[in-house]
Symmetry: C2
Subunit: 325 residues, 2 copies
């Protein structure tokens, strides 16, 4: 920056202003500065800027996995809002272990990001303490937690699972099985929603209807195998994972089971794939894009000092009825 200043024949302060708030520098000088910047190939040092100004234009997004394309919509929502405002998004993957999330959060705080969006809603106490201690604005958006760290923009996993279960019951299915990933916090929450619905319907909670499976397409096949072996009376399967539902459909195909004749299948997330398999799969459509956009909005409001009327935003969900149920 010193070089730029010399070349433009101004002080470093003027260069700084020309870069951060061009309006505040007279046209002539500004042009001289900017062309000096260009000629020297100068790249602003945001490290020093953030250190000095105690604020950063970087927003961190912490996702359980990048393998799952459902998060792509959220990423897009966040970056669509951030980009025009000059903020930058950095995404990091953290798995389902709170310990790993803690490490990622620590790294983001150490970089002094301007704000953080967390998909997870189960955090280690140390992570919560770091977050609150550092004063970093935080939005959680993977669920509506009972005890939010700061702000929330999400849908309720429990409500959504309940609604889909009731939907299946309304369609006349009597023995609705529920399959979730083992050791997945959101799967566990969804399972509670399924329980809620059964209780409301006055149906007994049959443990044979609850299935724990591994991830990916294989999980769907496992669920079908479980039903065939343990609970053949089941007439509907509600999969708490998206890819899992497709795996289940493929497995039915292999076994010659008619869907929905022999078994109806419903899924928890509305991947594009759900519309393209045959039969198309009934799904919960979640406001993934909106979640990203609103999360970013809330973060920026807080960063720019506007207080928020509603720090917990429930964005709802939608049941998309298709041929599989």
């Amino acid at each position: 920056m010193r070089d730029v200043a010399e070349r433009a024949g101004v002080s470093r302060m003027t260069v700084s202003r020309a870069l951060n708030d061009p309006e505040s520098v007279k046209e002539g000088l500004r042009k001289r500065v900017l062309s000096a910047v260009y000629e020297l190939g100068y790249v602003h040092n945001h490290l020093a800027r953030s250190l000095s100004s105690r604020s950063s234009k970087v927003i961190g997004l912490v996702l359980p996995s990048l393998e799952n394309s459902i998060f792509a919509q959220t990423v897009k929502g966040v970056s669509d809002l951030l980009r025009p405002l000059g903020y930058h998004l950095m995404v990091t993957e953290c798995g389902n272990e709170p310990k790993d999330e803690e490490r990622v959060i620590a790294a983001f705080i150490a970089q002094r990001v301007g704000g953080l969006i967390l998909h997870g809603t189960h955090h280690s106490p140390v992570a919560v303490r770091m977050l609150q201690g550092s004063g970093t604005p935080v939005v959680e958006n993977g669920d509506i937690p009972a005890d939010p760290i700061d702000m929330v923009a999400s849908y309720s996993n429990r409500e959504a699972a309940r609604a889909m279960t009731l939907h299946l019951a309304r369609l006349g299915y009597q023995q609705i099985a529920f399959a979730a990933l083992a050791a997945n916090p959101r799967g566990a929450t969804r399972s509670l929603g399924y329980d809620d619905a059964l209780a409301e319907l006055g149906r007994p909670a049959d443990p044979r209807l609850k299935i724990e499976v591994s991830r990916g397409f294989a999980g769907g096949a496992e669920a079908i195998a479980h039903i065939a072996a343990i609970m053949p009376e089941a007439d509907a399967l509600f999969c708490a994972g998206d890819v899992m539902a497709v795996g289940a459909l493929f497995e039915c195909d292999r076994r010659g089971w008619k869907v929905p004749g022999r078994l109806a299948i419903a899924s928890f997330d509305d991947l594009e794939l759900m519309r393209h398999v045959s039969p198309a799969i009934t799904s919960l459509h979640l406001p993934r894009y909106e979640m990203g956009k609103r999360s970013a909005e809330m973060l920026l409001s807080r960063i720019e000092g506007r207080e928020l009327p509603v720090p917990v935003l429930d964005l709802g969900f939608e049941i998309v009825q298709r041929a599989s149920t």
Copy 2:
């Protein structure tokens, strides 16, 4: 840090050492420092650290899109290598426009990341100049470029497309159609490989066999529609996109076309889905995980001052023959 130093009754320098190179501080002091750190909930400021030490433990990864799960393997490869060494990975999405990539690269350089991994291999001149001017170590890993910026760890799109086309010819297919995304740089490169193969086989380049489609499942359906309308003699379709191949398969199903009887289908990337549809789709398996891992390795070698024997690494590919051809 000042508070930590006071509480532990040492100088700030000792705190710094206890944090960055614990071995160099005597056990007693180290313990006092670390417990002060814990009690105060102190989080190291990496901004200041990087500014002062002119080096950063953050590695940036620039991907065209997070929507596509093929990149998940690469991300995993990179972070598996980085994590145990105390480096942090930050991923950013940049689309296919060199201008957007330029913005993302500028942001990473402005944050003074320790190194950068780029999936794209077509960069704006400004981006290249910034990269080289800043001295940031760079690995490109989406293709093997003719004129690399710095290091490369990838496979060759052109070679891979050529190999698959030859494979289809060897299986006896006479009229091999090729479908690629419109306006996708890698699609264009793959198209060249297809041309290479046809030339080697002494077959004429029939423009009716080259199809440009839109992204997603819809693109596959478009390709089939094109063949039905313009080039019904085609007996094989090589899709330069992964999801596209599945879309094509579904469309064949809808039309009652036998695969591979009426039309064989091959795809460019070996998504898990390819193994699960029926018939399973013949694919090019690319070293996605390896690409990530080796990219990270090369970056760290450079960062830590080891010179590299081979700054351009060709990791090859593999044809996986399945029922669709």
